[in-house]
């Protein structure tokens, strides 16, 4: 079971979510707050997604073995990938390659993560699947937009499966305190910082007269949002330092890096969506954004956070 630190972190997050839900109810009932209804709606969707995300991650982490969490992230990856490929034009010639991508590459990646085989899962998709996909499409004999079709499947597999699989891989890192609690806390800290940096960047982005970074990609992302979000989430990182294996200064830097990577993920996914002419990736629940809309920042931040943590552990000799 969990130690008091892990319990504190999880309960703290749930209390925070409860407060957010209460505020939401209060704001929605009153019409004279002068808040934009679009902002309230975005907030409502986010709060609901957080409840789902944090409850399932917490539930999976209750089991003192990486298996449940790895399976959970595997399912999220699978669903995100199907959203990604659905909105990507493919041709009948891609069918066989896609079959292997869904039913071999994706499960294999998570099996290897669960086994902690870092030397294998770090190269299976970027090298072997990367080479396999164009070759399998070529064998089907359809050369129309060949490079574009191969690249789309490769990118989908890299972002939705390879990158995201580094989040549950945090559970297999050799931490100085090798109990289950410290592993669970590391993953929970990571997910929490990603989601908070998303939210804080959104809040800072509401500042009037903000400088939009790329209006044609995402009019909501501003320089003020990025810098303000990264700075404030670093403070959160410092406050939550006790839950991580890092010293104070490193917890702050890690949080800032997560914020920047989360921002990069959001921008990249926005660009893909704009190119495809859609607003959201799925209609999982009555027209709200799909899974991919909620995890884009998680996908981009996971491998970087994983590698930095691994490097730090190596430097400190664990």
């Amino acid at each position: 079971m969990w130690d008091w630190k892990t319990l504190g972190l999880v309960v703290g997050v749930l209390v925070l979510l409860g407060v957010a839900t209460a505020v939401l109810h209060f704001v929605r009932r009153r019409v004279d707050t002068g808040l934009d209804t679009g902002v309230i709606e975005t907030f409502r969707v986010r709060v609901r997604a957080w409840w789902v995300l944090f409850s399932v991650v917490a539930a999976a982490l209750l089991i003192p073995s990486p298996i449940a969490t790895v399976v959970l992230f595997g399912l999220i990856s699978f669903w995100a990938l199907r959203e990604f490929i659905t909105l990507t034009p493919t041709r009948p010639g891609d069918h066989r390659a896609l079959f292997w991508v869904f039913f071999l590459c994706t499960p294999l990646q998570f099996v290897l993560v669960g086994m902690g085989e870092y030397r294998l899962y770090s190269i299976v998709i970027p090298v072997y699947a990367f080479l396999f996909i164009p070759a399998r499409i070529a064998i089907d004999g359809d050369s129309k937009r060949f490079l574009e079709r191969s690249a789309k499947i490769q990118v989908g597999l890299m972002i939705c499966v390879y990158c995201l699989s580094h989040a549950p891989a945090l559970l297999t890192l050799p931490l100085p305190d090798d109990g289950w609690g410290s592993h669970a806390r590391l993953l929970f800290f990571f997910v929490l910082i990603v989601q908070l940096s998303d939210a804080l960047q959104f809040v800072w982005g509401q500042m009037p007269r903000g400088h939009v970074i790329a209006p044609s990609i995402n009019p909501a992302k501003t320089w003020e949002g990025l810098l303000g979000g990264a700075a404030s989430v670093s403070l959160v990182g410092v406050v939550l330092c006790w839950a991580t294996p890092f010293p104070l200064w490193l917890a702050a830097i890690m949080s800032a890096v997560i914020a920047v990577m989360g921002f990069a993920g959001g921008m990249t996914m926005s660009a893909i969506k704009r190119d495809r002419g859609v607003r959201d990736y799925g209609t999982l629940v009555e027209g709200h954004g799909g899974v991919l809309d909620r995890i884009d920042s998680l996908c981009f931040a996971a491998p970087v956070f994983f590698h930095l943590t691994q490097y730090y552990l190596w430097l400190t000799g664990t």
């Binding site: 699978f78 199907r82 959203e83 490929i85 659905t86 493919t90 009948p92 069918h95 066989r96 896609l98 079959f99 869904f102 799925g282 209609t283």
Partner: protein
Amino acid sequence: MDTGVTRNLLVLLARFFSGASVRWIDSQPDTCQRVYFANHTSHLDAIVVWSALPQRIRALTRPVAAKDYWTAGRIRRYMANRVFNALLIDRTDIKVHRSPIDLMIQEIGNRYSLIVFPEGSRSSGREIGEFKSGLYHLCKKRPDLEAIPVHIDNMNRILPRGEVLPVPLLTCITFGPPIWLEAGEPKVEFLRRAREAVCRLKEIGA
């Protein structure tokens, strides 16, 4: 295995593979007798439309399917006969005195609804093909049937022609408002109207 369990399992499986996005536009699920007509791009179409219906309606709805495909092999035969209660039509042996339309009308009585694919055979998926006259004859003999247009999006990518293994992309099944055969409406006119009803749903989905 118990048929009820298999049935629910198959519905879950079909919903998982099709992504379970179902929309009713200007139309409501109802147990009255209907004929659902949909575009046809894959062997799984019948199961997917059938699974998209609410359970009490599903129990009263029979997909019309090709006998040669659904009697090949024990699993398919079991599924067609016992699980989704398909009405199998022999495409190779159509007799004048016992046309498929008469068989359908006899089988549904005044209880069941039907799922039909008026394009006849599977289209390539890009364009919806011309409708065959079966839908017209069915509606002419049973003018009380509500004809509900259904559009299946993306199914041709999940299981394209000639493939055996599906890829789990997301589909969207759209049910539209009912149409009826007008008194004295010519066959060509009705079939054109029916096809347009499906095409319109396709445009709404895009």
